[in-house]
Symmetry: C2
Subunit: 264 residues, 2 copies
């Protein structure tokens, strides 16, 4: 699949840099796209660092945008443009980029690898990105955190006691399994974009719940997951990126640090 499509692409309008359209000011879901592009050393533009970035996002998600002749409109960022193509939804963008950036085995090497990597990425995003968001906005996304504090406390306690260990335990099992080929990376013995997704999710969860995650790391029950986290962080291109100004600080996005929601 990758080779055939890449060959076609040489002749197409897609021999241009990728364009990421995402909110300025937070890593957010756009960060998963950035890490893939950065790890691959790909050429891309990022609306978060463009002068009129905010308006670019707003025009894309405007209630009057009905898309164009070949692309449905996006509901929300991140949005990836590549030549004439415009797609949204984080795992969908990664699915598109994965084979092109060499972040998933090609179909020639491993026919169905893309479905295994996509499944792992979807699982990480479900439990470790949507989950933490719901912790600070359990009853109404449209209202302020301050208006749902007791519910947020209850939701966070449930998340830290049940959901978070469930998902970390799941990825620990994936790393113990034979399909990981050694347990350093989630699938096939090589870094894939699912590893980058897990890294970024865990980084956000660590920011939101530093005490709970420090305790979990110390207890050693999810040792392989935390090893993967540190291994991603040490990859040369990721390390350079994380230290650069292109990496934005956590703020009022998916991952928020409210000390009262963390463990005591």
């Amino acid at each position: 699949m990758a080779t055939t499509q890449a060959a076609k692409r040489q002749k197409s309008s897609k021999d241009v840099p990728y364009e990421l359209i995402y909110w300025p000011g937070i890593p957010g879901r756009g960060e998963h796209v950035r890490l893939a592009l950065e790890e691959a050393g790909a050429s891309y533009t990022d609306s978060a660092h463009q002068k009129d970035g905010m308006n670019l996002v707003l025009s894309q998600i405007d209630a009057k945008n009905v898309g164009d002749a070949s692309n449905p409109p996006p509901l929300a960022p991140p949005i990836l443009k590549h030549g004439d193509l415009s797609i949204s939804q984080t795992p969908n963008i990664l699915l598109y980029l994965g084979p092109r950036l060499g972040l998933v085995p090609s179909a020639e090497e491993d026919e169905d690898a893309i479905y295994k990597v996509n499944g792992l990425a979807l699982t990480a995003l479900d439990g470790l990105s949507n989950g933490p968001h719901d912790c600070h906005h359990p009853v109404a996304t449209s209202q302020y955190y301050e208006d749902q504090k007791p519910e947020a406390k209850r939701k966070s306690a449930d998340y830290l006691a049940n959901r978070l260990p469930k998902f970390l335990g799941y990825f620990e099992r994936v790393l113990q399994g034979e399909a990981s080929k050694g347990g350093k990376w989630l699938y096939g013995g090589k870094l894939t974009y699912a590893d980058l997704v897990l890294y970024q999710c865990l980084d956000g969860v660590k920011f939101a719940f530093p005490k709970a995650t420090a305790r979990m790391e110390k207890e050693g029950k999810f040792g392989k997951v935390f090893d993967l986290y540190h291994a991603v962080q040490e990859r040369p291109k990721i390390k350079e990126y994380l230290a650069s100004e292109r990496r934005q600080k956590y703020s009022d996005g998916i991952y928020r640090h409210y000390p009262e929601l963390d463990e005591e």
Copy 2:
């Protein structure tokens, strides 16, 4: 992509029926997989109707399951087995099945159609499947509805006032857009699995909130979306399926009908 892989498949271990592994007793997320298989008239087995179906699901998601030599373990059903392949996550299973069942344009016809259809399916599942689940379990998935009733009421009010119209309005826009090629189906003028996903999501939301959805349908603001809903329901194979015993009734799953959470 579809043709190449289909050609390979002729010679592979995959010339066997699809196996769906999902909880017996609720349509749930497994229903999206069933509707795709049914619309295509594909040959498949369904653990929901097998004698030991519940144990089959439980053994798959057991905390000791580390997968096998080529497949990571699943976190949760639905799980699709096809020959040696075992994959999970609803949109991932549909991504795999879509080209094989003719429910997405082939890469030869429309190179990037799969990403557009996948994006639409992910959006529907996010807002119209995860959303309604959170309405009855806003603060703790691990606790009973009865222990979070006031929060569920608040969450549902927010959902009906904000999230649901936002998502229905989004799909109405998609159907107004040129990429839908006429506004009967979401993308490219032909039924894709994204239409089946939207149908099933809306069917569940209608079950959960009959009064609110009846009002919305009557108001006519999302006319194209409701037309699509009825058009899917009238497709011969879907119609036969919905009337059969293979279609399970809604119960204590994602979509639940608590009259107190609906509009007055």
